[in-house]
């Protein structure tokens, strides 16, 4: 049977179809059930659509004010939560006055009971006016619906339109209330759809080159973008727009002027690349910049599109000379270690092969909170016989698999990290990194170094209290001997 029910999940038999054990002869459509509504009380790790829209897609944009139309909770939890650093540089050469403005400020309507009863539209409009007054330098204002405002039926689009006319700068509403869809993935999609419908095609770039790309689905987690941008620049490729790492509002408006869209996070942003292709004829390619092999391969692909293969080879050779020897050291140390990848989405298929090919790690299993069928197919293809492929695993299942599969390292999020540590197993933050960036050549070296330091933390060797300092003496006492055998 290709599907597995964890012992801890026996009371919830529905969990079985979400956990697939890979057998190479299984038909192609054998994947875990995914992107379906969450089982109540199953201790899901998933987030909501608002988190997907604001937290993932728009939260990286540097020059807009984010107004969350909500009771205080959603505003507070959307405040500075993701590591999306931004600079003050704008494409027209001017400076935005605040560095990391997207992380430092959040605005909310702090809805009260009377607003729930009588509607919150007036408050929303006032909040936009105040935002424009307090932050006159922002280039657009984004409004977010939440569970409450979705339910009371506040017409966000109408408010946005009205306020846009009044204040004379773009005001855009994102209708991704928390209860929409099964996971945060719905919020990604709404974010894409809204930005495409409202912004793309509305502005023109200050200058263009024959080598312009859209870099889509790259959010600059811990500086990923800045590293990859160096490679592109050296090859001679110009990032005209980034969707949305360290980008500005206007930049999204001229995405239709690029020659090629390069899609990095395929789950959260293939939508907009497709729409731009359909409407404006800009082709897109799906790429992957995790690990030296994938990074090199994908740089070659992008460079080939522009006839810049030779330049790409130079960049690749230079970077490999820089990181290669150190990676050899880590491969020696990490070979044979077993890893489980507990990611939000695509990292579960980006990492399994490179971790094996380049660092010698075995991927015992992969999982995702919000991937869809296409992502799970890739995940399945890229792991070995017997590996687990799980949709929306919970912490009890994680505990069981750590014990049953003798895992050496978990790549996961902060919600799992400390649980894993209690089991005596190291864990690395893969959503927002420990000491990133993790993408690109130097980034993969950072990842290898962080994995090495997590696994070889000397504390793991001294977890057990030794009754006596001499192990020979310990052997004589029955209990200690049993302990050693274990």
């Amino acid at each position: 049977m290709p599907y597995k029910l964890f012992d801890v999940s026996k009371p919830i038999p529905e969990r079985k179809e979400h956990t697939y054990v890979k057998h190479c002869n299984d038909p192609e459509d054998c994947i875990p059930k995914c992107n379906s509504k969450t089982i109540p009380g199953s201790m899901t790790e998933r987030g909501c659509a608002f988190a997907g829209a604001k937290g993932v897609i728009t939260g990286a944009i540097k020059d807009v004010a984010h107004v969350v139309h909500s009771p205080i909770g959603c505003t507070m939890y959307g405040y500075g939560s993701k590591r999306y650093p931004t600079t003050t540089e704008l494409p027209d050469g001017s400076e935005f006055p605040v560095k990391d403005f997207n992380i430092k400020y959040i605005i909310g309507t702090d809805l009260q009971e009377s607003d729930v009863v009588f509607g919150g539209m007036k408050k929303l409009r006032q909040a936009v006016r105040e935002t424009n007054k307090e932050f006159p330098f922002v280039n657009a204002i984004y409004l977010y619906a939440t569970c409450t405002t979705g339910l009371i039926g506040d017409d966000m689009d109408a408010a946005a339109k009205e306020m846009e006319e009044e204040i004379g700068k773009p005001v855009i509403a994102f209708n991704a209330p928390g209860f929409a869809g099964s996971t945060q993935s719905k919020g990604h999609q709404i974010g894409n759809d809204t930005l495409f419908a409202k912004i793309v095609g509305t502005t023109e770039p200050p200058a263009t080159t024959p080598y312009d790309i859209n870099f889509i689905g790259e959010y600059n987690i811990d500086g990923d973008l800045w590293l990859l941008k160096e490679y592109f620049n050296e090859i001679g490729i110009n990032i005209l727009s980034t969707f949305t790492g360290d980008c500005c509002h206007n930049e999204l408006g001229w995405m239709h002027r690029a020659k090629l869209s390069v899609v990095r996070c395929q789950r959260s942003s293939t939508y907009i690349a497709k729409m731009i292709e359909e409407k404006y004829g800009v082709p897109y390619i799906k790429t992957d910049f995790f690990s030296t092999e994938y990074c090199a391969e994908n740089l070659r692909t992008v460079a080939k599109f522009f006839g810049l293969e030779d330049k790409a080879e130079e960049v690749i050779a230079k970077r490999m000379a820089k990181v290669g020897p150190e990676l050899d050291f880590y491969r020696e140390k990490l070979t044979g270690k077993k890893v489980f990848i507990f990611s939000g989405g695509p990292k579960s298929y980006h990492l399994s092969i490179p971790l094996h090919n380049e660092l010698g790690l075995e991927t015992t299993g992969v999982s995702s909170m919000f991937e869809h069928e296409d992502g799970f197919e890739k995940m399945k293809d890229r792991v070995k016989e017997g590996a687990l492929v799980i949709d929306d695993p919970n912490t009890l299942e994680l505990e069981e698999l750590i014990e049953d599969y003798d895992i050496d390292l978990i790549l996961g999020g902060v919600k799992e990290k400390y649980l894993v540590h209690k089991l005596g197993i190291p864990s690395l933050l893969i959503h927002s990194y420990e000491n990133g960036p993790y993408m690109g050549f130097e980034g993969f070296l950072n990842l290898a170094r962080d994995m090495y330091s997590a696994i070889y933390n000397p504390v793991w060797n001294i977890l057990e209290f030794q009754e006596t300092e001499d192990p020979d003496v310990a052997d004589v006492t029955g209990e200690a001997a049993e302990e050693v055998e274990k």
Partner: protein, 470 residues
């Protein structure tokens, strides 16, 4: 130094929006309270983002595993009501986690659609007559009223109201802590121990949220207050609510069972700790033991030792209302000047406390009750501060104003050891005085022990002089 006896309140033009909030929603307060219950499972009846966001905030603060269940409401269930999801979640949690208690907190979503949680829970219990079910307590915590402070209050009240049973006097004292660091809860327990007085701690996070690296720490909230202790609260000598904003359970016990309630202040600082010791001794008719007197003496000693460094330093303080008002008093006791005090909750008790302290200590801080961090920052720009006390969200303000941030409160996600920040009681006070003063020494004094503020001014003067010469 100001000698106005009136508290200055700032009113901004900004009236409809909140920028960088200094409060969270009621369900978060509920979860904060529930994390101190033994073998319990908090369940948020709402969309799954609520529990995920809360787990994210709590886990990065405590660096401990945090479990919060969700009924995962979606579009369809929003239309038909949340009965199916809540029943299903109760079943799954009961069978999978087998907790002793499930506390169900509502959210803005389920309050808006008007789900009758108590009714659904009864239906679930009626449908499972043969099963051994956990105790299930509903708590109404709509996010669109008040803040996490009230969510905490309502949760303790709901637990006591639903569970307490009059049996025989137990000679104990109920302590409602409010949301404190595990170290501070631990200190309260130590003080009771010193007094030889048994307490029922509502709720006791000291073990769950500062757990050792051990597999046993994964048993569902292994330490903490038990259902039995909650039941026993009606038999106590009295209730002391350390947080004036979390005393509703105490009011309930006083009204219904005649259990005396003493509400606040938070034992933070010399005078407030004196109040707490007095209250506890009064309730149990005790003498103050010698070791407590010695600790008090040590705190005074620490305050005197520190005084030349922190005298007349300006303080800006933000966080939960009881924390801010007690910290205002404490830093005033140390000879510092509170210039801006800010709490996100609108609270009359808070403003009254600040007024009293301002009169007694002859200070006049800008007081923001129901304020946000943006307003606080504007106030700091106007009246100045040498040091900011509050959570990690103050870091960018401190950075911009070039002053140190002394981290206390919740959440603290950019430094280690939030669970071990100790401020309560005489011993916590000593720790605080030392660490705060050392922060001042690090920032305002050079390696030889000289204050560097003037030197900086001199450099600026020199530059001006040089520029003029050119």
């Amino acid at each position: 130094m100001h000698h106005d006896k009136k508290v200055t309140e700032i009113h901004h033009d900004k009236k409809f929006s909140v920028v960088n909030p200094s409060k969270m929603c009621q369900p978060m307060g509920a979860v904060q309270a529930l994390l101190g219950l033994k073998n319990s499972m908090p369940l948020i009846h709402g969309s799954q983002g609520c529990s995920t966001y809360m787990r994210f905030q709590l886990t990065r603060h405590f660096r401990e595993p945090i479990e919060v269940a969700s009924t995962s409401m979606n579009e369809k269930t929003v239309i038909y009501g949340g009965e199916y999801n809540l029943m299903k979640a109760l079943k799954n949690i009961t069978e999978k986690q087998s907790p002793s208690i499930i506390a169900v907190a509502s959210s803005c979503l389920t309050e808006t659609i008007g789900d009758d949680m108590a009714g659904i829970i009864r239906k679930f219990e009626d449908a499972n007559p043969d099963k051994e079910l956990p105790v299930i307590v509903p708590i109404s915590t709509p996010s669109y009223t008040e803040s996490h402070v009230e969510g905490y209050n309502r949760t303790i009240k709901a637990l006591v109201e639903n569970l307490t049973t009059l049996t025989a006097p137990n000679g104990k004292v109920n302590i409602i802590t409010g949301f404190l660091s595990p170290a501070d809860v631990g200190e309260v327990k130590e003080i009771l121990n010193d007094l030889n007085l048994e307490g029922i701690i509502l709720t006791d996070t000291s073990e769950n949220l500062d757990a050792p690296l051990s597999e046993s720490a994964l048993n569902l909230y292994d330490g903490g207050t038990t259902v039995g202790q909650l039941e026993d609260t009606a038999n106590s000598l009295g209730t002391i609510a350390l947080s004036k904003h979390a005393d509703s359970a105490g009011e309930f016990l006083e009204k219904k069972f005649g259990i005396k309630l003493i509400s606040g202040p938070l034992p933070l600082g010399l005078e407030n700790t004196d109040s707490f010791i007095r209250s506890a001794c009064q309730l149990a008719d005790l003498e103050i033991p010698e070791n407590i007197e010695k600790d008090r003496g040590r705190l005074m000693d620490a305050m005197v030792d520190a005084h030349s460094y922190n005298y007349h330093r300006k303080m800006a303080i933000f966080g939960d209302p009881d924390f801010v008002s007690s910290m205002t008093r404490f830093t005033s006791e140390m000879g510092m000047i509170p210039t801006v005090v800010c709490t996100g909750a609108k609270s009359k008790r808070f403003t009254e406390d600040i007024e009293t302290i301002s009169k007694e200590k002859e200070c006049s801080p800008v007081t923001l009750a129901g304020g946000d961090l943006y307003d606080m920052h504007e106030a700091i720009k106007k009246v100045g501060a040498d040091i900011l006390i509050g959570n990690s969200y103050g870091a960018s303000i401190a950075d911009e104003e070039n002053i140190p941030l002394f981290r206390a409160g919740f959440p603290i996600f950019d430094r280690l050891g939030a669970q071990r920040i100790s401020t309560l009681g005489y011993r916590g006070g000593i720790d605080f005085v030392d660490r705060l003063t050392n922060t001042i020494l690090d920032f305002y004094y050079d390696e030889a022990g000289y204050e560097i503020v003037e030197e900086e001014d001199m450099i600026i003067e020199d530059q001006k002089f040089a520029e003029e010469e050119i």
